[in-house]
Amino acid sequence: MTLVAIEGLTVDFDGVRVLHGIDLHVGKGEAVGLVGESGSGKSVTWLAALGLLPGKARVGGRVKLEGADILGAPDQTLDRIRGGRIAMIFQDPASALNPVLTIRRQIGESLALHRGLSGAAIKAEARRLLDLVGIPDAERRLSAYPHEFSGGQNQRIMIAMALAGNPDLLVADEPTTALDATIQAQILDLIRDIRRETGMALVLISHDLGVVAQTCDRVCVMYAGRIVEEAPAAVLFDDPAHPYASGLIGALPAIEGPRQRLSAIAGTVPDPRALPPGCSFGPRCLHATGACTQAPPALTTFGDGRRMACVLAKYRLEPTAIARELVDA
């Protein structure tokens, strides 16, 4: 059952297209990962879907929440959806919380907006949420300010705030990037525990393939404003099909086993103002052929729930295709 369906989502900043038609579905209770390097459009996708981009951004396409179109919906509708149906947490929790407001006030705001609570009920529920996300001494800490907490605790508070509206989907944008490794593990565990209890769906946006692999059922790899590959998490990391996806995984040093030279991807991410013709990854791709410069390859669906945008897709994902073509020839 699809919860959110993004169809052909495009974003332009000052006439420069940074998102080139994203198609993405998130099912109820599902955990979807969005992986890509900086500038790939993974955060922009969800900021655009929730109408959180600055006014100069031009957004096109459709975003449906349980079938109802929410892109360009009136502000009142969007305000009920944001935080109420779809909550979002961000990379740097210390600056994502308002420095001059108490934690109680910031969590209470969500409770008042989405659950209609007030007064003592807000305090009781805010305390319960802080307990839930593992902030010790919640009663007393409610009147503290963000700077009185550590980075990991601030991210827990962000999560508590996100949970305040009982959302169906949590969009976590690089939630652990600013945190130390041991704290990162705590936060990922917390998110997993909460999902187990509430059945909330998750979109995890991260540049770290390891983080996504451990947390998500399905992963989309993004490059230069497009999804280039989508596959179940286990499949993607064992057998990446798109040359960029396999390049990313090869570029990751291993923590065990024999040490191998990293297979770096040559070159750099293209400037969105000057994308190469055809496939945006073409100039960095080891397998590029003349066909790659013709047109951007479409994201094509294959049998086992995989999608891939590459001229080589059918050879990678349907090995029989080669045989068939040889026979035809």
Binding site: S150, D180, T182, A185, L188, L209, G210, Q214, I255, A264
Partner: protein
């Protein structure tokens, strides 16, 4: 000098600050680095991993002589580091170089890259005009940049290219020793791999001794032969990079290794530490790790463990670690539940 004598010898260095807790509090002593010792031979890379507050960056700065240790000694090529700022210090600085996390901060925005790579040659009066020109081109090529890149300004380069430019400049004086503090942490994965490969190649080609400091275990393992794990200003475990990450002994190293996310590893294998990263201003008694340690016993709360050689090239600071048996590896503390897992 024989190849077996260490180029860099660090003995029990410490760095303390006094810090006021809040605006009105009484000053308290913060031990950022608390008795760290190691040595690095020519052509060898020592990796230092640790989280924020572990003192790894301060250690790097003391080794370079940018900060003077409050206790202990740093010896470079058999001699103590001369006082900061003197002619002797400047001469020695040509032999030891560093690169940091943010290349944009390390570069001058108003000068083209080539001019900045050339700067150390001018400062240390290396070669004549023509030789310096040629050396700059050679240096840029060594780090994978073209002469065209050399004509550009820092903001016209990508993050990875900037870090290469910093590396080229660091290599200009043909140093013997390079300190890298989080050199690839700000870079995207694909670019990170380019720079890591470059560092490894250059280190091997030039026979550099290297101190590689990072929070990223995977990158440290990729680059280093030996690795030290720091926690609250001390090295808690040191050993061969492959062995250490394969069979971590100290409970902190074990948690750190298990927390490193990697595709293909099941999250259930993870040891999740409770509590926040430690605050150097509020150092626990005894073993600094005991409040977060699942194995801690009474002794850990009162007695600070020393870094002891457990055989098989491993040193561990843990009361509960056991030395390696014949041909085996040292082992850390055990809990029945964990053995089942």
């Amino acid at each position: 000098m024989s190849a077996t004598t260490p180029l860099v010898e660090v003995e029990a260095i410490a760095r303390r600050y006094t810090m006021k807790k809040g605006v009105f509090g009484a000053p308290i002593e913060v031990r950022a680095v608390d008795g760290v010792s190691f040595s690095i031979r020519r052509g060898e890379t020592l990796g230092i991993v640790g989280e924020s507050g572990s003192g790894k960056s301060t250690t790097g700065r003391m080794v370079l002589g940018l900060e003077m240790p409050d206790a202990g000694t740093v010896r470079f090529d058999g001699a103590a580091i001369p006082p900061i700022g003197g002619a002797e210090w400047r001469r020695q600085r040509a032999r030891m170089q560093m690169i940091f996390q943010d290349p944009l901060a390390a570069l001058d925005r108003r000068l083209p890259i080539a001019a900045q790579v050339r700067e150390p040659l001018d400062i240390h009066l290396i070669g004549n005009e023509a030789e310096r020109e040629a050396r700059v081109v050679e240096l840029l090529r060594d780090v994978g940049l073209s002469a065209d890149h050399g004509r550009r300004y820092p903001h016209e380069l990508s993050g990875g290219q900037r870090q290469r430019a910093v590396l080229a400049r660091a290599l200009a004086t043909r140093p013997d020793f390079l300190v890298c503090d989080e050199p690839v942490s700000a870079l995207d994965v694909s670019i990170q791999a380019q720079v890591v490969n470059q560092l490894i190649d250059i280190q091997a080609a030039l026979g550099l001794a290297m101190l590689f400091i990072s929070h990223d275990l995977r990158v440290v393992r990729q680059v280093s032969r030996r690795v030290g794990v720091m926690y609250l200003g001390r090295i808690v475990e040191e050993g061969d990079a492959d062995d250490l990450f394969a069979t971590p002994v100290h409970p902190y190293t074990r948690a750190l290794v298990s927390a490193a996310p990697h595709p293909g590893r099941k999250p259930t294998e993870r040891i999740v530490l409770t509590g926040d990263p430690p605050n150097p201003a509020d150092r626990p008694s005894g073993c600094a790790f005991h409040p977060r340690c699942a194995f801690a016993v009474a002794r850990c709360r009162v007695e600070s463990p020393v870094l002891a050689d457990l055989g098989a090239g491993r040193q561990v600071a843990c009361h509960l670690a056991s030395p390696a048996g014949a041909g085996g590896v040292p082992t850390g503390p055990k809990l029945p539940a964990l053995e089942v897992a």
